[in-house]
């Protein structure tokens, strides 16, 4: 719960950071190219908002890094070897880039040249985006653990070759997650800018600033929306391939089959749509929750065993691991036999820790409705972005109060949408920390419930305080408006 809360809270700030970084970089670029101070003032205004948001994002980011060790001791050993290279690259390539150029961007307007400042603004955003890629390589591996093998001598997953590393880096789940996360950040940044600017128009303030911001924000958000849809489509296909239970839960699909229907809301279905979305085939086979529990044969003719059988093979793997560890120093033939049994069953090792087959089913209601909120709100926001950008381009926004109010309402909605997406991705994969290999209850540290509860409530209080302050500061800055930002 503590880690979930921290990750969800972190995800409140990251999308706006990614999106606003792009918006203000575009505005500053226009300023440098056209030498028009209007765009400098606009960029500086959004930068003020960015800075507040960035600080809280950093604060929550370090908590996540620490919690990998403090709360997930077994996990950090088990994945440490796989995490190593992506984390090293993230630290060296992205973290320092963000930190160094953020300082130049924020304080350097009068200290460095225009071009160096512009480069710094872009590099801050690029740093944040590169950082997102490498952490999602790690997250993608947890959802689809490719490129590694379990080493019983060290009791962890290890990469062994350049090809394996490449497989980890280009893991399709990581790539589509990255595209989905970053583009949803652009949507968040875009609608945030559009919504705040709409407020100015409703108050009859800052007309030029607001209309031009809506145009830039709208375009950034729209590009993001299209990319979100495309990457969401490939995420669906990957879920069907690598995490069918997540898809079944997101669809509330108890019994699957060929030509499966997509449920819009309970009672309203589109025939065959789920098969099309999940397999890109009209009659593609999509397993339901019961099929996964009982075992099934997929479209390619592969027989997927029942969960009960996976549990039995998982226990065999764990027993073989214990036998191998006991025999390896003194009984070479016994060790070799145990190792062979382990390798035969290792892909189901995590199942050996489950107590009953139903443990593999995530909370279906939560995932089902989160999925619907994500898609429904995402489409609504894309529509508002499209209309706002169109009317801003035509300079016909004034008088369209309904649209301006819709844009403002979309600001909280985009956060609900993003959090819903996080719930689908992370709650949907329960009970796994690493799909099939390490369930959550084995990834833990040896801590008392009291210790974890204490830190949970401490962090809850800290997060609530920071969120309240951030919202107050942002509202204060927005009320002040861009006119206060002068050379």
């Amino acid at each position: 719960m503590q880690f979930a809360m921290t990750a969800a809270y972190h995800w409140l700030f990251v999308p706006l950071t990614l999106g606003l970084a792009l918006v203000m970089a575009v505005m500053e670029t226009i300023y440098v190219v056209r030498k028009d101070d209007f765009w400098k003032r606009a960029a500086r205004f959004w930068m003020k908002i960015f800075a507040v948001n960035f600080a809280v994002g950093i604060a929550t980011g370090i908590i996540l890094e620490f919690e990998f060790g403090t709360n997930w001791s077994n996990y950090s050993w088990f994945v440490g070897d796989m995490f190593g290279a992506p984390l090293a690259i993230e630290g060296i390539l992205a973290f320092f880039m963000e930190a160094t150029f953020f300082a130049v961007m924020f304080f350097g307007w009068d200290r460095v040249s225009k071009r160096f400042h512009l480069a710094s603004t872009w590099l801050t955003g690029i740093g944040a985006t590169v950082s997102a890629y490498w952490i999602l390589v790690a997250n993608g591996w947890m959802q689809n653990p490719v490129g590694t093998t379990f080493n019983p001598d060290t009791v962890r997953s290890e990469m062994a070759s350049a090809a394996a590393f490449w497989e980890v880096v280009t893991n399709p789940v990581a790539v589509s997650k990255f595209c989905h996360a970053v583009s949803s950040g652009w949507v968040t940044g875009g609608i945030f800018v559009v919504g705040v600017s709409a407020w100015y128009l409703l108050r009859g303030r800052e007309k030029e600033f607001a209309v031009k911001s809506i145009l830039i924000g709208g375009i950034v958000g729209l590009v993001g929306s299209v990319a979100v849809m495309l990457s969401g489509d490939s995420s669906g296909v990957h879920a069907a391939e690598f995490q069918p239970m997540k898809l079944a839960a997101a669809e509330g699909l108890e019994d699957g089959g060929r030509g499966a229907a997509f449920t819009i809301v309970p009672g309203i279905k589109i025939p065959k749509m789920l098969s099309i979305l999940a397999t890109h085939k009209v009659d593609g086979y999509v397993p339901g929750i019961n099929d996964i529990l009982k075992g099934y044969t997929d479209d390619d003719g592969n027989v997927v065993p029942s969960v009960a059988e996976k549990m039995s093979r998982g226990r065999a793997a764990l027993d073989a691991l214990a036998e191998y560890r006991a025999a390896r120093g003194n009984d070479p033939s016994g060790a070799a036999a145990a190792r062979a049994r382990l390798e035969e069953n290792v892909q189901y090792m995590g199942y050996g820790h489950l107590s009953k087959p139903e443990d593999v089913v995530p909370p279906v209601g939560v995932v089902f409705w989160a999925f619907r909120f994500m898609i429904g709100l995402g489409m609504l926001i894309a529509l508002v972005l499209l209309l706002a950008a169109f009317f801003a381009w035509k300079d016909r926004l004034e008088g369209k109060k309904w649209l301006l109010w819709a844009a403002i309402i979309c600001i909280p909605l985009v956060y609900i949408c993003g959090q819903a997406g996080w719930v689908v991705a992370e709650v949907g994969r329960q009970p796994w920390t690493i799909q099939g290999l390490l369930p959550v209850n084995v990834a833990i540290s040896s801590l008392s419930a009291g210790a974890v509860k204490t830190t949970f409530f401490v962090f809850l209080a800290v997060f609530a305080l920071f969120l309240a302050i951030e919202i107050r500061i942002m509202i204060g800055a927005i009320r002040k408006g861009p006119e206060d930002i002068k050379d």
């Binding site: 809280v56 001791s73 077994n74 950090s76 290279a85 630290g91 801590l447 309240a468 302050i469």
Partner: protein, 379 residues
């Protein structure tokens, strides 16, 4: 490249990052002056804005130091972070508050007031070096944990690294030797902070205050550092033989120092440089002491890490079960991962170069009251 070379290489890099982290904790040291009654409000604001332009680099170095430890020696990460829980959580909370304090401090909507966030920065300034120092101090005193990798196959108790007591790291505060290192680091970073402000801020009154602070801190620093060093050289250490068996050895760290002359030279050169920086700052008109003391700090911290991990030594020893002690060899990532990270690490000079360039561009003019009054871009 052999596995042994790569393991040693990454221990050197982790040591270097540790050294840079302690050096960059001048941010924490300087922030201790935010409660200084001798300084005016404007002067405190100058200091806040001066460290405000560097804090992210310190923070990022901490994150990278943690990340490098996780990536290259994951068993340390899982054992120490999951075990010495309260020490790391406390450190974490001080840094979490630090991360937002600059941005929130002077905003009227901040709920806790200016003083609230200044207190948070000062708490971080005091606790961060103290806790890091005390945690590193346990590299030489040992901790109460066991490591059993096959536990993961045991459904009832699957955790590989388990801590032996409910204090979860706070028991280190009862270890005088570990606490002495915490105090040493606290005094050192306070002086580094003074030296940094002396260099970065243009204000004669502030300079005088910094010089007087350095003069006041030197004696406590020397007492803590010398006491820690003498105790270290006289104590039993955790030796590891070729087969990986850990045993106690009298004067182990003294032996390490004598058997690794390079480390001895690093330690002595580092101490001389730190003292040179301090003397330049406290007893001469020079404002360049930070460069000497900073370089010296990096050398001394690296030497301390080398003493802990090289020459057949367990760097994170277990008092409960000697054979659970962590060594560079038994706690590292695989050869392949260390090798990939080796190639990535070759980019470090490039990263250092652009940081230096950006700093140079930003620090061409020192920070003065005039600038802070004029600009909107301030904390």
């Amino acid at each position: 490249m052999t596995y042994e070379f790569l393991q040693s290489y990454w221990w050197v890099l982790v040591s270097l990052l540790g050294g840079l982290l302690v050096y960059l904790m001048f941010v924490q040291g300087a922030n201790l002056h935010l409660g200084n009654r001798v300084l005016s409000e404007n002067q405190k604001r100058l200091i806040l804005n001066s460290t405000g332009r560097k804090w992210e680099l310190t923070f990022t170095t901490l994150v990278t130091f943690g990340g490098a430890f996780f990536a290259s020696f994951p068993l340390f990460y899982s054992t120490s972070f999951g075990g010495a829980y309260w020490v790391w959580v406390l450190l974490l909370i001080t840094f979490v508050f630090q991360a937002v304090s600059y941005e929130f401090c002077h905003k009227k909507e901040n709920l806790l007031g200016v003083q609230g966030f200044r207190i948070a920065l000062m708490a971080n300034g005091f606790l961060a070096p103290f806790l890091v120092g005390t945690a590193v101090g346990t590299f030489f005193t040992g901790s109460d944990f066991t490591v059993n990798k096959v536990a993961i196959a045991d459904a009832a108790s699957p955790v590989i690294s388990t801590w032996g007591n409910g204090w979860h790291g706070l028991e280190a505060l009862a270890q005088p030797h570990a606490v002495l290192l915490g105090c040493t680091l606290m005094f050192l970073t306070a002086m580094l902070g003074d030296l940094y402000v002396l260099n970065n801020v243009d204000d004669e009154t502030v300079h005088a205050r910094m010089r007087s602070s350095i003069r006041g801190l030197l004696i406590p620093f020397l007492i803590a550092f010398l006491a820690w060093t003498v105790m270290l050289l006289l104590k039993k250490g955790f030796a590891v033989d070729q087969a990986g068996v850990v045993s106690m050895e009298h004067f182990k760290y003294l032996h390490n120092l004598l058997q690794m002359p390079v480390v001895l030279v690093m330690l002595l050169a580092g101490v001389v440089l730190v003292l040179t920086g301090i003397i330049k700052g406290g007893w001469s008109p020079s404002r360049k002491g930070i460069w000497f003391a900073g370089a010296g700090t990096v050398l001394v911290v690296m030497a301390v890490f080398f003493l802990a991990g090289f020459n057949g030594t367990a760097y994170y020893p277990s008092c409960t079960d000697l054979q659970s002690s962590l060594t560079i060899a038994n706690s590292s990532s695989s050869r392949f991962t260390l090798q990939v990270m080796f190639w990535v690490s070759l980019l470090i000079p490039f990263v250092v170069a652009y940081i230096a360039y950006a700093w140079h561009q930003m620090d061409r003019g020192k920070i003065s009251s005039g600038e802070i009054e004029k600009t909107n871009d301030k904390y």
